[in-house]
Amino acid sequence: MSAREDHKVADEIVTEPEAYALPPETPAPHVSVRRASPEAGEAPAGERARSVRIEALNAWYGDLHSIKDLSLEFEPNKATALIGPSGSGKSTVVRCINRMHEELPGARAEGRVMLDEQDVYADGVDVVAVRRAIGMVFQKPNPFPTVSIFENVAAGLRMTSRKVDAEQVEAALRGAGLWK
């Protein structure tokens, strides 16, 4: 059963367990995909939501072939969850989407990740532009310790040389329930 066929059913195991290279004694991991259309899933005004389609993705950590030939589609304006035990490759898949995987020493990825009709792994693609277009939230929060909370909230704008607007920062903090 491939991811492409299955994604309409929306809640079952998508990748075969043997798709992940793990030490033999580890129980075979399953990654499942769940989808929902949350009310708050709308893209901000002026920005059209985009689809992400993974095609024949393979990823390695050195010699460890972690993701084997994965294809999966993420529809715009839908929340999609990847579910599976630790070490089964959920984060690796996510890190391949915005090309963060290759930042680790010895790690590499092959295949296509289509952002609408653009392949982020195509020749000549600027990884910095890819990461600007595809946001990412980490499992563990990692604030920058040398700057203020304001600067941490504004970091996304600051790091990409965009104008920092105090009202935007306040709105973001209010939205997260961190502003009194």
Partner: protein, 287 residues
């Protein structure tokens, strides 16, 4: 049922012996340190006076030998220029190694050369500058700036290694956080990595400076030894280690006393730098 409280007498005895041996070892190691400090203070403090710090060596055989003003000024100026050259270069090398070269062939080669350079005796750097800049007569013969270059060569590997160690302590997750926001590499380095590592880099730098300030050999053959105070780095320049070296060789008690005073002054200066380094270390977010 075994007792949870009492340890067997044999074990307690072994513990006491082991503790005593370690304490003894530490004590023995501290003896020379204590003696050095004791003699420095006893012999050096006597030489200290307002006059001692505010006059230059007179060079006259009879009468007042003068103080060590030129040596203090020389050491500060020469070492400051050396730091100005070595620190940006050394930190730059470290940034290349940790952020760009990483485990590449060039980075590994550079790392090896840095280790080799750390082990080169200081006189070799002095002789290198002596042969390439002093003997060839480039811009005169002996000069303060030539001494600075010799010290900078000495400091460079120390600064680079210290900075590399601290930069490697910056959590990878911080770099990733910045990369995932779409920050270009240079921005990640200068607005996340360097600020996070800064206290540690400063500590490493100050320790390198402190080490260079005490070096005698490279200065003797590059900046030489004069009596008068000068701020002109193009001239011969006095320095504390050179002054001490010259004074201890003299047959006059007054000059030897000045050497003790100068040695104490040098130790005090280095202690001050080390204390500042310690203070910065405490504020280090990574340690």
């Amino acid at each position: 049922m075994t007792s949870l409280v009492a340890t067997s007498a044999a074990r307690r005895r072994k513990d006491r012996v082991a503790r005593a041996m370690l304490a003894l070892g530490t004590g023995i190691a501290l003896v020379p340190l204590g003696l050095i400090l004791y003699y420095l203070l006893r012999k050096g403090l006597g030489a200290w006076s307002w006059h001692f710090f505010t006059t230059d060596p007179t060079g006259s055989f009879l009468g007042d030998p003068g103080g060590i003003r030129s040596a203090i000024v020389g050491t500060v100026v020469i070492v400051a220029l050396a730091a100005l050259m070595a620190v940006p270069l050394g930190v730059g090398v470290a940034l290349y190694l940790t952020e760009f070269g990483r485990d590449g062939r060039l980075a590994r080669g550079v790392r090896f050369l840095i280790d080799v350079m750390t082990g080169v005796p200081s006189i070799v750097f002095g002789l290198f500058i002596y042969i390439s800049l002093v003997v060839t007569g480039i811009a005169g013969s002996f000069a303060g700036w030539k001494g600075s270059i010799a010290l900078a060569l000495l400091m460079l590997p120390v600064v680079a290694r210290a900075a590399e160690v601290v930069l490697l302590l910056v959590p990878q997750s911080l770099r990733e956080a910045a990369f995932a926001l779409g920050a270009p590499r240079w921005k990640v380095v200068f607005s996340v990595v360097v600020p996070t590592a800064l206290p540690g880099i400063l500590t490493g730098t100050l320790l390198a400076v402190a080490r260079a300030a005490g070096e005698t050999a490279p200065l003797l053959v590059t900046a030489a030894n004069v009596n008068g105070t000068t701020l002109n780095l193009g001239d011969r320049m006095n320095s504390l280690p050179a002054q001490i070296f010259q004074d201890v060789g003299q047959a006059q008690d007054r000059l030897v006393a000045r050497a003790w005073g100068a040695a104490l002054a040098l130790v005090a200066m280095i202690l001050l730098l080390t204390l500042v380094a310690r203070l910065l270390q405490k504020r280090n977010r990574l340690a």
